[in-house]
Amino acid sequence: MKKQLAMVIDASKCIDCKGCQASCKVANELPREQWRNWIKGADPQWQAKNRKPMTYQPGNCMQCSQATCVTACPTGATYRDGDGVVMIDRGLCIGCGQCIGACPYGARFRNEKLKVADKCDFCSSRRAVNLPPACVSTCPTKARVFGDIKDPKDPAAKLLAKNKDEAVQVVNQKTNTDPNLYYLGDPGPKHWPHEAKMPGAFEFWKNLADPAVKIAVGLTGLGALAMLGKQFLMKNDAPPQDHDHEGGGHE
């Protein structure tokens, strides 16, 4: 079975300390004011009589199994790798930003320094040396559990299996991308992801330009074949012979 790296996050353990955000920024050398992860807090309801406790929802790119950002990328610079992580090939990315609008979570941004798409990749550089993602390492309450949920012996898989009925994915109902972040405890608001929308230029290409170009190339190809056929079948195709070329009524 293929690997699927995922995070199982116990939201009830999150104390909103922002440690994950700070460590991510350092580990991934992100420009000022650009972040790969977040903690979403519910609006406190000071007036309510039975005040609910505050909830915190730590998150980042959800490495969706049905990733709409991959669908929107024309060059394949964004792709799902063998570990089930959505990766970005920076050398191949031309910074068109179609993936940014296609992500229901706003997890992607255009890196101001590199001018290409950027987002969480579960710290691929740290994973390369067998370290967990920076946010996982740094979390003081161990709210984030990271691992391969397809491997039954993995702690993340075990935690998810144990809480199968309670675990939730935060999705937009219209475009469920099957994310690989699972929440335990009360993660607060679950309806914030927007509908995944392909950019206009992409839709135009897919629905109009692509078939039109294929038809145009196909038709000229057929035309050339017709002429080739005629060239072979009619070896002596001579213009009509008559006394003068200027004259009209040729019979």
């Binding site: 060059t75 992409f202 897919k206 294929k214 005629k230 195709d237």
Partner: protein
């Protein structure tokens, strides 16, 4: 049979034609391979996978496409500046000058003749009140002119959108993303139209028997006087009016 040859292409013209052809071949091959998307792959996923394997990854492929595109543009710019008054301006004037009546008739008749032969063409155009003769043409025939018009415009669009795509990683900001997105789509359309026309161009030049002398002239620079007389009669008449010394 007369062996007299007349000059049709200059050495520079021949150079830019084959330079353009070579660049076009590689730019098209690498450009199509830069598309790797389930919904957009023109030839299927195997093509980008194969070409990327040859280049050692998509990043190298993109760099090669950009590099060659910029070299292509730079050589063109030098050529355009050097030959602006002597060749480029007259060429543009020539290809954008159409004689509506004669050229429409030529387009209809020549297309029918090329696919169905003179006999069928003669029969089919009879209801239009036309005979089976194809109207005389100038230095370029109407088909060549239309193809050249579209290729010149598509080339300009490819350059403009291509420069936008290269700029994206160096000069543009997130707010300009829509320019880059539409540039990719339009770049694809312009390349698609050009490819469609190149299929016709390559058939006409390299495979069609009628145009064999034109194909040879893309190496030698000259065509037989007889060819000029039969295929480009109006040009032949212009040549006849010139001093004999200009006929090689």
């Amino acid at each position: 049979m007369s062996k007299t040859q007349v000059q049709r292409h200059t050495r520079w013209g021949i150079f830019i034609h084959w330079f353009n052809a070579a660049c076009w071949f590689f730019l098209l091959a690498t450009g199509v391979a830069l598309i790797s998307n389930h919904d957009l792959n023109p030839l299927g996923a195997w093509y980008p996978a194969t070409v990327r394997a040859i280049f050692g990854g998509g990043a190298n492929l993109l760099a090669a496409h950009w590099g060659l595109g910029l070299v292509w543009l730079a050589v063109w710019l030098v050529y355009l500046v050097m030959h602006m008054s002597r060749f480029v301006a007259p060429f543009i004037k020539e290809i954008f000058t159409l004689d509506p009546n004669r050229d429409l008739e030529w387009m209809i008749k020549k297309n029918l003749q090329m696919t169905l032969g003179y006999k069928m063409m003669g029969r089919l155009v009879k209801p239009l009140g036309w005979d089976g003769h194809i109207p005389p043409q100038g230095y370029y025939n109407a088909g060549q002119k239309l193809v050249a018009q579209v290729l010149v415009l598509a080339g300009a669009v490819l350059v403009a959108t291509g420069l936008m795509l290269v700029s994206s990683k160096y000069f543009l900001s997130a707010a300009d993303a829509w320019v880059v997105q539409w540039s990719i789509t339009i770049h694809f359309i312009a390349a698609g139209i050009t490819t469609a026309l190149l299929i016709l161009h390559i058939y006409m030049a390299a495979i069609s028997r009628d145009e064999r002398p034109a194909f040879i002239s893309m190496f030698s620079g000259t065509v037989p006087l007889e060819y000029a007389q039969h295929h480009h009669q109006l040009w032949y008449q212009e040549l006849s009016e010139q001093k004999p010394s200009e006929v090689v």
